[in-house]
């Protein structure tokens, strides 16, 4: 079972692109998306605490979001239908990739997913009408739920006029989060 997922590191320390395992036959398709032992192999003890899925119209950006300590979490995300530009920004002050961003295309053809550690702000742009599934290692904590503005964090989005929520339009830049050393403990490095 240990060779079930292929994975490779993304440009931010601790972030990975993982290939889902797909089996097809005359009935349809079977896709494996989460397996604790495989995550342990990557070095991630991922507690499957909450999961949700979203349906997004084309050109919607959701994000960038993250939770603050002590409710920070790992996040795993994949595209069940459609295609997204999935984006991440490193808010960990002591990380080798602190302040940097990375993007990866997730879609229903590649059947790939992204895995990111605490201290990473995450968002995505729907390049088509898309269904996205997200799994997090802690549950939603409204008081610790935070974000950074998608247009003010260095990400080169593939479109210029995205559809945002009112809440996402008012999110701050990344500077304050880096200065506040929110994600500074050894556990988050």
């Amino acid at each position: 079972m240990t060779d079930i997922f292929q994975y490779k590191p993304l440009a931010l320390d601790g972030c990975y692109e993982i290939q889902q395992r797909v089996m097809e036959d005359e009935r349809g398709m079977f896709v494996k998306v989460f397996h604790t032992e495989i995550y342990n192999k990557i070095g991630v003890d991922f507690n499957f605490a909450e999961s949700y899925y979203s349906f997004s119209k084309k050109n919607v950006i959701r994000g960038l979001h993250f939770q603050l300590p002590p409710h920070e979490h790992y996040k795993m995300i994949y595209c069940l239908q459609g295609k997204i530009q999935d984006a991440m920004v490193d808010l960990r002050r002591n990380s080798t990739t602190s302040g940097k961003n990375a993007s990866v295309i997730l879609d229903d053809q590649q059947r790939n997913m992204a895995l990111m550690p605490p201290g990473i702000a995450h968002g995505f742009l729907a390049l088509e009408e898309s269904i996205i599934v997200c799994v997090t290692s802690t549950v939603y904590a409204p008081e610790h739920d935070s974000g950074v503005h998608s247009q003010k964090c260095g990400i080169q989005w593939q479109i210029d006029n995205p559809i945002l929520s009112d809440k996402d339009k008012t999110l701050p830049t990344i500077q304050g989060f880096l200065q506040d050393k929110l994600f500074n403990s050894p556990a988050n490095n």
């Binding site: 009935r27 604790t36 032992e37 499957f48 605490a49 979203s54 929520s165």
Partner: protein, 183 residues
């Protein structure tokens, strides 16, 4: 976090209804929250998740893993709709050998929670049906087995479903009960 936790007619099986939030961007729907443990008095960890896409008329089942790899399973339908069915294989259960079925769909936003000792299967009522599973143990090929779909007292909505060669060969109910996997 879930709108409703409704006990089904098999002991330990529940129908959950998700909370859903809509705005001009689309819809967001919760499908798992660890508060389920407290609400239902169950204790397990999600160890594996997978989804299947099925053409109209595909039947997958009836499946279960035997001890020590038996599992809790959460089933939800992210696209389309299915006739979801289960039968109680636990000898000591107050609902032993009882079978039930219900429609779960992306519009009803309902999920089914199934404890260990229950065989589970579904019939796709749409083209396609996308069904997501969350399970409390990982797949154990040597402990993965099933029960024949025509011998589980389910009134399927399709008499001539598309079935895998493997599922066609699954044993009859009496044969499974004789093994006394759960007493």
């Amino acid at each position: 976090m879930f709108k409703e936790y409704k006990p089904l007619e098999i002991d330990g099986c529940y129908e959950l209804t998700s909370n859903s939030f809509s705005d001009h961007r689309g819809v967001l729907t919760k499908i798992w929250h660890s508060e389920i443990y407290d609400k239902l008095g169950v204790n397990f960890k999600i160890q594996e998740s997978y989804y299947s896409t099925s053409k109209l008329g595909v039947l997958r089942g009836m499946h279960f893993q035997i001890p020590p790899h038996d599992q809790y399973k959460l089933v939800c339908c992210l696209k389309g709709e299915i006739q979801d069915a289960m039968i109680d294989l636990r000898e000591g259960s107050p609902t032993s050998q009882k079978s039930i079925d219900l429609v779960i769909s992306s519009t009803k936003k309902n999920l089914v929670l199934i404890p260990p000792g229950i065989a589970h299967g579904f019939l796709s009522l749409s083209d396609p049906a996308v069904v997501l599973y969350m399970a409390s143990t990982t797949y154990a090929p040597d402990h993965d087995t099933g029960l024949h779909w025509q011998d589980c007292n389910v009134n399927w909505k399709n008499d001539n479903p598309i079935i895998s060669a493997k599922d066609k060969e699954l044993p009859k109910l009496q044969e499974v009960l004789n093994q006394k996997f759960w007493d």
